[in-house]
Symmetry: C2
Subunit: 333 residues, 2 copies
């Protein structure tokens, strides 16, 4: 049997993924030694995987070797199994490849309860984005009622969920996004209190207007210039859950100078904490069931930006970095 | 009656305090409306007050107006009182002026139990430095037994106490200091496990050698280049209590670019927290009695760098920034 899979053949320069990745056809054998064979249904596009395409060694994952398959979280159906606990037809989620079929270790896959109205939810509100949003807001941000909660990349897959969860915790929620369409979605559909289009508004003035007493929690997905500006607008005892470095991933060298106004950490007795949701896996069942309950009652909304076809995966992946996407960026096979 | 007092007459450029401060003689009246008149015995020299000499508005205290008295923590004796709860002859500590006599609000002064072997302890191990060290290590750093605890400006008034407190908490304590004499003091007298002379050793190599698994807690008194280097050597879930910005206070503009390797916060799921010991005043009695017990049993040592005479206060103050001092820098009147 043959399968198609994207291979990393060079370290990409910026968002020039076309030169770095190649879709190849190769043989796939039957699964053995407890492995399962999966047919991929949806592949999640995540900014964090960009780092593994580079050759830096000091990230939280080693780089992907040149010639190896590109990896990502996926929703899939089991087609063959060499592990009796995993059955043909089961719906599973885990860390797979950018491929149509793959043999994977069953232990790193989770069998899901079927029957959600949208399969996309398994990879967004109820997937890693939901977890990341929950952990960043509740465990790291520690929100208190009435606090000003700010989130960057607010119309992104994680940011949009973070804002909704902060709203549940009683915060006044302000989102940063790069278009009027995104801002409208945040306020009108997701219930954000305020959305700031940072591409046309002056962010410093907007924050001073909307948060004259400062930002209590800044859920940061991007770092870079936006973080610099937010640092000038912190409330006393502010918390900054640092979720991602989107402004940074495509830069050469990948060293990100820290925020100017770094001294405001001391002036405002503020805290920045980097976090990584797999660290909270032990608490997974509790988080998952809470997210699932919120999703089913309709209070945890998401939007999916779906591209069809494995051959179009690069079109989809690039959207994360250009900001064309709204909500969760996915490829459906 | 006349008194002598240092007045701020210009914003200092770097450590050129001679041009910025002037010792003047002026009249002092009897205290009224609950004030007390104090005769200063010892004045504490603290790096943090340098910021108030500049005109920046975004610090945790407003700038000192030109023409006003220079301020600092002091140990004093009450000479006259208009508040029945404060008696002539009482020993007090509080926020006073760089002067020989002063009328001050009694509420901001604390009457001390007399009888310590060294008056200097009231302004170091049992004063703000002791508190700052305690809060930074125990409340912010949250040390666990066996963790690697690193402190910069380790031979300074706060750093030397922080290291001793971390040692009590079961940490392996590494101090950074700028001379062999200081390093010897840390290891031989204070019980630090390791001292690194960062002026002659390559800090990155030294940290990799002494902490191959990374630094768990970095008590930072200086920020700047040293923080940059430590950021490359963090353990997973490292905590950085940010106590001060010594490398920064004398710079014009006073904007401190954040640490390079800022992204290591995310990679290592680390936390930086700015803290300010007056925020913990409510917990003061507990902290004070603990410090006092340790001090009396001889396990919280300090060294004082004493300059005699109010007229020599600038000689003493400058030592904090040039690194000539060992331990707590004080002026005795």
């Amino acid at each position: 049997m043959k399968r198609k899979v994207w291979k990393l053949i060079a370290r990409p320069d910026g968002t020039n993924f076309e030169e770095a990745l190649e879709l190849v056809e190769e043989d796939i054998s039957d699964p053995v030694n407890g492995q399962i064979q999966i047919k991929l249904k949806i592949i999640s596009m995540d900014a964090g995987t960009r780092m593994w395409m580079s050759d830096r060694q000091d990230s939280y994952q080693p780089p992907i070797d040149l010639g190896s398959s590109m990896v990502g979280v996926c929703l899939a159906e089991i087609t063959k199994s060499s592990n009796p606990s995993f059955k043909e037809g089961d719906l599973v989620r885990g860390f797979g490849e950018w491929a149509d079929f793959a043999n994977v270790d069953s232990e790193s896959f989770l069998v899901l309860e079927k029957g959600l109205d949208h399969d996309e939810a398994y990879l967004s509100a109820l997937g890693l984005n939901g977890w990341t949003a929950y952990v960043g807001v509740m465990e790291v941000g520690k929100p208190k009622k009435g606090e000003n909660f700010l989130v960057s990349a607010a119309a992104g897959a994680t940011g949009s969920l973070a804002g909704q969860i902060a709203k549940k915790a009683g915060c006044r929620v302000i989102g940063l996004a790069g278009s009027q369409e995104k801002c409208d979605w945040l306020v009108n559909d997701l219930g954000f209190d305020i959305a700031i289009n940072y591409k046309i508004e002056d962010l410093d003035s907007a924050l001073k207007k909307h948060c004259p007493d400062g930002v209590d929690i800044y859920f940061d997905n991007v770092a870079g210039d936006i973080l610099d500006t937010v640092m000038q607008n912190l409330a006393l005892n502010a918390r900054i859950p640092l979720c991602g470095l989107l402004a940074q991933y495509n830069k050469k060298g990948a060293k990100l100078p820290g925020p100017d106004n770094f001294d405001q950490l001391l002036m405002k007795r503020a805290t920045i904490t980097g976090f990584f949701c797999p660290d909270f896996l032990d608490d997974g069942p509790r988080i998952e069931s809470m997210l699932s309950e919120w999703y089913k009652e309709g209070s945890l909304k998401f939007k999916a930006d779906i591209t069809e076809g494995l051959e179009n995966v690069l079109i989809s992946y690039k959207k994360i970095f250009t900001g064309e996407n709204i909500g969760k960026t996915l490829v459906k096979l």
